[in-house]
């Protein structure tokens, strides 16, 4: 009976993850894509970075699942601190993107070409696991709509282990949608590509920063 219940929970979470996966991908895409674009060309480095990103994202999921189960379904729906959480996570994402955008060019020189500024700014980075981990974890706890749906469902389960298992299966369903990002490994890495990725990270940091600040201001003004 328990096995049947477990299987039902797993299939429900997996299907939920598969069906809402495109939304997850779209939601995390702005963070994943610039990060992957600065990785050296090749499937191995991209697989490694994506694996680290997804592992950290899974950790974020688990933290949220535990919190959702402990506090109950009220977290996503009526929790008064939701705007603070949204705003805070957005600001942290902005900060992480800025930090890694600033760090990318200093890591390693991409080529020995003497073309000055473009090579300096667009140098390929040394793969840094901390970047994928930080960005993965922050996107993992980012409250996107499919995530909230899964959170509500997990909170209704009887045991904490059940909630964690539900999120694990939900994660597996959504993670499949991230595999297309591996195709970026085939893209030729020129200094221009890395520079564009860095610019994208800065622009997205501005967007997340603006989003976070406006949420916090709104929360402060309107309660």
């Amino acid at each position: 009976m328990a096995a049947l219940s477990l299987a039902a929970s797993a299939s429900e979470a997996l299907v939920l993850g598969l069906t809402t996966g495109p939304v997850c991908m779209a939601s995390c895409g702005p963070v994943v894509l610039p990060w992957m674009l600065v990785q050296p060309k090749g499937m191995w480095s991209h697989s490694r970075q994506l694996f680290l990103f997804l592992a950290a994202r899974l950790a974020g999921y688990m933290v949220f699942a535990a919190a959702a189960w402990l506090v109950g379904a009220a977290i996503p729906r009526e929790w008064s601190g939701r705007s603070w959480a949204y705003g805070g996570i957005d600001l942290l994402l902005a900060l992480a993107l800025l930090v890694y955008a600033a760090g990318w060019p200093r890591s390693r020189r991409a080529s020995s070409e003497p073309s000055l500024s473009l090579v300096e700014i667009g140098a390929a980075p040394r793969p840094r696991p901390s970047g994928a981990l930080a960005l993965g974890f922050l996107t993992g706890i980012n409250l996107c709509p499919p995530f909230l749906v899964a959170g509500v469902r997990a909170a209704q389960l009887a045991h904490l282990s059940g909630a964690l298992f539900f999120f694990l299966c939900f994660f597996a369903g959504t993670a499949i949608w991230f595999l297309p990002f591996l195709s970026l490994g085939f893209l030729k890495r020129t200094p221009a590509v890395v520079t564009v990725a860095r610019m994208v990270a800065v622009l997205l940091a501005c967007w997340y920063g603006f989003s976070g600040v406006s949420l916090l201001i709104e929360r402060t003004l309107h309660g």
């Binding site: 495109p22 939304v23 991908m25 779209a26 939601s27 895409g29 702005p30 894509l33 610039p34 073309s115 500024s117 473009l118 700014i121 221009a192 520079t195 564009v196 610019m199 994208v200 622009l203 997205l204 967007w207 406006s214």
Partner: protein
């Protein structure tokens, strides 16, 4: 671009008879385009159509007669840029009484489609089967400029002409080209030349951001936050802090990128250093039929072509390789500026600098047909609006 003096000194490129003969297809095309207007349109619109036929045919004749492209194309393009808002805003005021878009119009999908949003539609359409633009997919009585019609037109011409769309059809680019033409001195030239390699990457970054955020938020982020041309077309009604902020961004970008910087640099700064649609359009330069090439045997590395390029689509390295960069808009400025005839029009798959005038003619027929069809109808509408304003009985 050739100066007026040098153009006048230059002997006629073709005889009048031959130029007229070459202009005949464009004259017939223009007549064909405006035949429905003569049949069904108002008197003012018919006057507009006649004016546009004469204008477009006349400019094409001058292109044939003088052998210059950029100078005559610019007259059309600047006219399009400055007249488009007149007709468009007048129609908005007549219909709604305001330039702002009411929410009800967005909900009912009556917003006229703007091609600038095209790249942002791709991901949401592919993954969620959702069009993130408040317009109708198929034409309706109230909104003939539907998404399907506009994308179909754009795609057909883009396949043939590539990024030439940005120099012959975009009704926004003419505004900044006009401001760039006003200025006599070329300021910030050293800055633009030195940092051109970085500046021309910005549109790609904005394109990626816009595409990713539009997919994440399910809204046309460029239209909502970044389009400078909302200032001279339509924009969400200012009702709260957010919409006030959006309007502030639109005006700031317009004044900065479309007015001030083109006046200072004599470049199309919005097109060259900002427009994400332009970056998207550059991709089609890889597969279209025409490009500009450089005959290395004639080239003396004077960099006149590089200086004349309005969008920084040339670098010393690219000229050395005998081609333009990916963001070339095929405006013809470099070809006209080159005194050694080293910069030439080229039909892909044919030898470089062998019968370049034939490549130019083939390109111009396509580009001018597009200009007449797309820009011509806009111009006719704007002229008709002005005819309405005239105190004539």
């Amino acid at each position: 671009m050739a100066s007026r003096a040098s153009a006048l000194e230059r002997p006629a490129f073709r005889s009048i008879g031959r130029s007229l003969l070459l202009t005949l297809p464009i004259a017939l095309w223009s007549l064909l385009m405006f035949t429905p207007t003569f049949r069904n349109g108002s008197r003012a619109l018919s006057i507009g159509a006649v004016a546009v036929i004469l204008f477009m045919t006349g400019l094409f004749f001058l292109m044939m007669r003088t052998g210059e492209t950029y100078r005559w194309r610019r007259i059309f393009f600047v006219a399009l840029g400055f007249l488009f808002p007149i007709g468009f805003i007048a129609s908005l005021i007549a219909e709604r009484g305001t330039m702002s878009i009411p929410i009800s119009r967005m909900v009912s999908g009556d917003t006229p489609y703007c091609f600038m949003v095209t790249p942002a539609l791709i991901l949401p359409a592919a993954f969620a089967r959702t069009i993130v633009f408040p317009g109708s997919i198929l034409p309706t009585a109230s909104n003939p400029h539907s998404i399907a019609v506009m994308i179909g037109l754009w795609f057909a011409f883009t396949l043939v002409l590539g990024k030439a769309w940005c120099s012959y059809a975009c009704f926004f680019g003419g505004i900044e080209e006009g401001f760039a033409a006003f200025s006599k001195r070329r300021r910030l030239h050293r800055f633009v030349t030195r940092y051109g390699s970085i500046l021309r990457l910005i549109p790609w970054a904005i394109l990626l951001c816009v595409v990713l955020l539009s997919a994440a938020l399910f809204e046309p982020v460029y239209c909502m936050w970044l389009c400078p041309f909302k200032t001279v077309t339509e924009f969400p009604a200012v009702r709260n802090v957010e919409t006030a902020l959006q309007f502030g961004v639109f005006v700031t970008l317009f004044v900065g990128l479309v007015v001030v910087l083109p006046l200072l640099t004599k470049k199309r700064t919005q097109c060259g250093f900002f427009c994400p649609f332009g970056a998207f359009q550059s991709l089609f330069n890889k597969i279209n039929l025409f490009d500009i090439r450089f005959d290395r045997e004639k080239c003396v590395d004077c960099t006149l072509c590089q200086t004349s390029c309005p969008t920084v689509a040339l670098s010393k390295e690219s000229i050395h390789e005998g081609k333009t960069l990916l963001n070339c808009m095929k405006c013809g400025a470099c070809v006209d500026a080159c005194k050694k005839d080293a910069a030439v029009w080229h039909l892909k798959g044919t030898p470089v600098a062998v019968k370049p005038e034939r490549a130019r003619l083939l390109f111009l027929y396509g580009a001018w047909a597009l200009a007449t069809m797309f820009g011509g109808s806009i111009l006719a509408n704007s002229v008709a609006t002005m005819v309405h304003w005239l105190p004539l009985k």
